[in-house]
């Protein structure tokens, strides 16, 4: 592999104090991610996939090992605002309208007001929320709120999009539609995505590579290349190769 946007080497993460009850959340994680990749982290509950995501995003400091993002430390990458984050819950600010919520990261970066507004409108258009600019979050459905939070994450054109089970709380139908939209956004923006999920189908449909993790201690069990042709669409879900990969990932998860 040539240049990489994320390089993880020998990452270890141990939670717990000196009292003896220590939990090894991550052990010996080695992973290189190339620009423009869509990486899914999948594994049983407690395998440390969210922890790994937070290590990459400099929300947690690993107890051992090295992480580099864009050739910088994660701390510097965070200060340079290289990250966009999306959580399982939309985490929109209830006192801000949808437009103002999307403007938040631009505001924090000190972008002029009229540019903030323009950029936020563009993004809302991309996630098909035009017309809801002046609504408050509680006036929107769960799926729409999540779309707004994706728009917010993309506002500063992050080099790295970190998504922690973003569609976990949505119903199956909405989830599939959101998968399709995310795929389109990924193609348009050419952002690198790290995506934590519980759903094998979602991982296969979206990813270029799937990282299967095992629990206690959290480590990488296997990395599956998803060689489904791009651009993908709803028809991809019906391909034989899709089912083959899905079954292979399921096999690996059984061993996890």
């Amino acid at each position: 592999m040539g240049e990489s946007i994320v390089t993880l080497s020998k990452i270890g993460m141990v939670f717990g104090g000196s009292s003896g009850s220590q939990t090894v959340a991550l052990q010996d994680i080695d992973l290189r991610i190339a620009p423009g990749e869509f990486i899914s982290l999948i594994g049983p509950s407690g395998c440390g996939k969210s922890t790994l995501l937070r290590v990459v995003g400099d929300l947690l400091t690993p107890t051992s090992g090295q992480v580099q993002v864009n050739g910088k430390s994660t701390h510097q990458a965070r200060l340079d605002q290289d990250y966009g984050m999306v959580f399982q819950a939309p985490v929109l600010f209830e006192w801000r309208t949808i437009l103002k919520n999307v403007m938040l990261p631009l505001e924090l970066r000190g972008v002029p007001q009229n540019q903030q507004r323009e950029r936020a409108r563009e993004l809302l258009n991309m996630v098909e929320l035009t017309g809801f600019e002046n609504h408050y979050p509680w006036q929107l459905s769960g799926g729409m709120q999540q779309r707004a939070s994706i728009a917010r994450a993309l506002a500063i054109q992050p080099k790295l999009l970190l998504m922690d089970e973003p569609f976990g709380a949505l119903d199956e139908m909405t989830r599939e539609r959101m998968n399709m939209e995310l795929l389109n956004i990924w193609r348009q923006t050419q952002t690198t995505v790290i995506f934590v999920t519980h759903s094998i189908a979602e991982a296969v449909f979206l990813s270029t590579r799937i990282v299967v993790m095992s629990a206690r201690p959290g480590r990488i069990l296997h990395i599956t290349d998803v060689d489904l042709p791009q651009p993908r669409g709803e028809q991809s879900r019906a391909e034989t190769r899709y089912f083959e990969i899905e079954n292979a990932v399921r096999e690996w998860l059984r061993k996890a």
Binding site: R54, G57, D58, L59, R78, L79, D80, Q81, Y83, G84, M85, F87, A89, V91, F93, E94, W95, T97, L104, P105, E107, L108, R109, Y136, W138, Q139, I156, L162
Partner: protein, 285 residues
């Protein structure tokens, strides 16, 4: 429509209270004489309860009538005296409220950011509230000299505590993921405070403001007593208390006006809250 219903229900409640009040006087008060009540009723209650005597529990119409009578010989009617006193006390309460709210917010924000400060100071903040205001008030007056400043300080003393507690609680209320989000954008502590913590705390802070609004009126009234200020409601209450036997209705009138001042302040804060929290999906209280 909803407001109309609310007003009607308040009126019905007041009417009920009046019926109970006069009902007690009907069965256990002093004799009703024809010339002394608006209905021209002659009635001799079957019992004599001490609490229901005309001195202890004056007829509502006597209290009402005392509003229009002069409180001093050849003076203005009681109502205008009380309204003037109400504005005087209200001003002290408002100034005290702002002192207290400012101090409360400041302490809340400091405590939210410095754990050590909270652990060190919180016991004293709590202790300050267990000392009766009646003991504190004379001290404040000795330090600051009698005047509206010391009264405002006493009102602030009753105000700041709920604001501190609720601000602290509110500043800590944001979803941990919202804090992670701000962190991922490399937001400064200041930005996190202004754009996340304070807006999230606002509903909590307004709850405290509502408690403080009424408490500040109580503080102002109590503060007037030892400072010898005669222009406010505290002075009026003290005065009419001394001359209660010669006109019980006047003390009751002063009490009613004091309650109205507290309610008015509460209402103002509620309106401010409605403006500040507009757009949010709040559960109606």
């Amino acid at each position: 429509m909803k407001q109309l219903r609310q007003i009607i229900s308040i009126l019905i409640l007041l009417l009920l209270l009046a019926v109970v009040w006069e009902g007690i006087k009907w069965i256990g008060g002093d004799p009703w004489r024809v010339e002394n009540n608006p209905f021209g009723i002659e009635h001799n209650p079957p019992w004599r309860f001490k609490v229901a005597s005309d001195l202890n529990l004056p007829h509502l119409w006597d209290i009402g009538a005392s509003f229009s009578k002069p409180s001093r010989r050849n003076g203005p009617p009681l109502i205008s005296v009380l309204i003037q006193a109400a504005f005087f006390t209200f001003r002290e309460a408002v100034i005290g409220f702002f002192f207290g709210a400012f101090l409360g917010l400041l302490l809340g924000i400091l405590f939210a950011h410095f754990d050590l400060l909270e652990r060190g100071c919180m016991p004293y903040v709590v202790a300050s509230q267990t000392v009766p205001i009646l003991a504190i008030a004379p001290m404040v007056i000795i330090w600051l000299k009698a005047g509206w400043v010391s009264v405002a300080v006493i009102a602030a003393y009753l105000t700041f505590f709920p604001v501190t507690i609720n601000t602290l609680r509110g500043l800590r209320s944001p979803d941990p993921r919202a804090l992670e989000l701000m962190r991922s954008y490399a937001a400064s502590k200041w930005a996190v405070l202004w754009k996340l913590r304070l807006p999230a705390a606002l509903p909590y802070i307004f709850t405290a403001f509502k408690i403080s609004a009424t408490a500040s009126v109580v503080g102002a009234i109590i503060g007037e007593l030892p400072s010898g200020i005669r222009d406010g409601l505290g002075g009026a209450i003290l005065n009419f208390n001394q001359y209660y036997i010669s006109g019980p209705g006047r003390l009751w009138a002063a009490i009613i006006i004091s309650a109205l001042v507290g309610m008015a302040f509460y209402l103002i804060v509620t309106l401010a809250e409605r403006v500040a929290l507009r757009g949010r999906n709040l559960v109606e209280e």
